[in-house]
């Protein structure tokens, strides 16, 4: 893993590298170099398998984190490439030409987070939801409970407790 990172540092500016465990590491790349870096990892370093592509909403810092998790089939190591993109205008370069399944991930991210991938095939088609009119549901500022109560006729009689308080009272009354 270290040798891969040292190799990588010759060509790219690797901002911060964090070794999570022996065979899994994460690094941060800027939006501009990310696709080049991933292509390099795939073609020259041998990270041929895209495990997943997902996003994390850091609403406090006003950005989305995209994680490209790549797997090396020979060395059996994983490398996560984290890319921070602004929450104001979420847009990222597409990688559908590198992996066939990437277009599915990008379609899902477009729908669930509202991150646009210009050029990715069918990216604007609805994937999971049908007739969705609210803000994209996986964003942190979308409140699923409020939406559910407003829309789906909740059956009366269901109480909501703070789990910590409730379990303390019920299960551990003496503590």
């Amino acid at each position: 893993m270290q040798t891969i990172i040292e190799n990588l540092q010759k060509h790219f500016q690797v901002v911060s590298y964090h070794q999570q465990r022996e065979n899994l590491g994460f690094l941060i790349a800027s939006k501009e170099v990310a696709v080049g870096l991933i292509t390099h990892l795939r073609d020259y370093e041998g990270f041929a398998h895209l495990v997943l592509l997902t996003a994390v909403d850091w609403i406090e810092d006003e950005h989305f984190q995209l994680t490209y998790l790549l797997h090396h089939p020979e060395k059996k190591v994983d490398l996560g490439v984290r890319v921070m993109i602004s929450r104001e205008n979420p847009e990222m370069y597409s990688i559908h030409h590198l992996w066939e399944q990437a277009r599915t991930y990008q379609r899902e991210l477009r729908e669930m987070f509202g991150i646009n991938f210009p050029g990715s095939p069918d990216v604007d088609k609805p994937f999971i939801l049908e007739g969705w009119e609210e803000i994209p549901p996986y964003r942190r500022d979308f409140d699923t409970k409020e939406y559910s109560e407003k829309t789906y006729f909740p059956r009366p009689g269901r109480e909501t407790h703070d789990p910590a308080e409730y379990m303390k009272k019920k299960l551990y009354p003496n503590e």
Partner: protein
Amino acid sequence: MGKEYIEKRTVISPEGNPIEVDPLKDYFCDARPKSCKSASGIIEKFANWARSESLWVLGFGTGCGAIEMRPLMTPRFDAYRFGIQWRPTPRQASVFVISGYLSVKTLKRVVRSYEQMQNPKFVVALGSCTINGGMYWDSYNTINRLDHYMPVDVYIAGCMPRPEALLAGFDKLKHIIREGRGEGANKYAENFEWYKGNQKKIIKDWDMPDYNW
């Protein structure tokens, strides 16, 4: 979504004549459902007995509960000995088993399938999710109460109910039918506007006829 093939258009036939094609217009009847009067006395009793002994289930597993349908069909629990069979299309079925949570996208298909079933028809709702949302009570994509969208005859609680519970539920359904209380289809026809209103409230992408059979 590519909807162009359900829209009205003019096509040229192989002979060169223009043909007006309206795919939605041709294949459904948009008359609203009517409530049917039951026959009287012993005839109705006999009919109810016959209905209760041949429950044909529509094989549309809408959620997790569908996985318990397989053991129920196979020799260990063997629902066939109670006259319960699985059928591939709504036209041949009389019981709709809603097996678990319903997402909005599935609800749209379920409503269409339900309306295509012949009278009398019964709905068995399976799992806590159909009663009050169950595990997914706060989810933005699953419904909470099934009885707002279609009349339900029997609820089987549990997450997920065991095959024995399903058999008990079907047994209960038989009792209900024999007593002449399985009037779901009539209830749907009588409260049609209310059910439609609820359905339209949550199915935003309504591109189907109001009622079709």
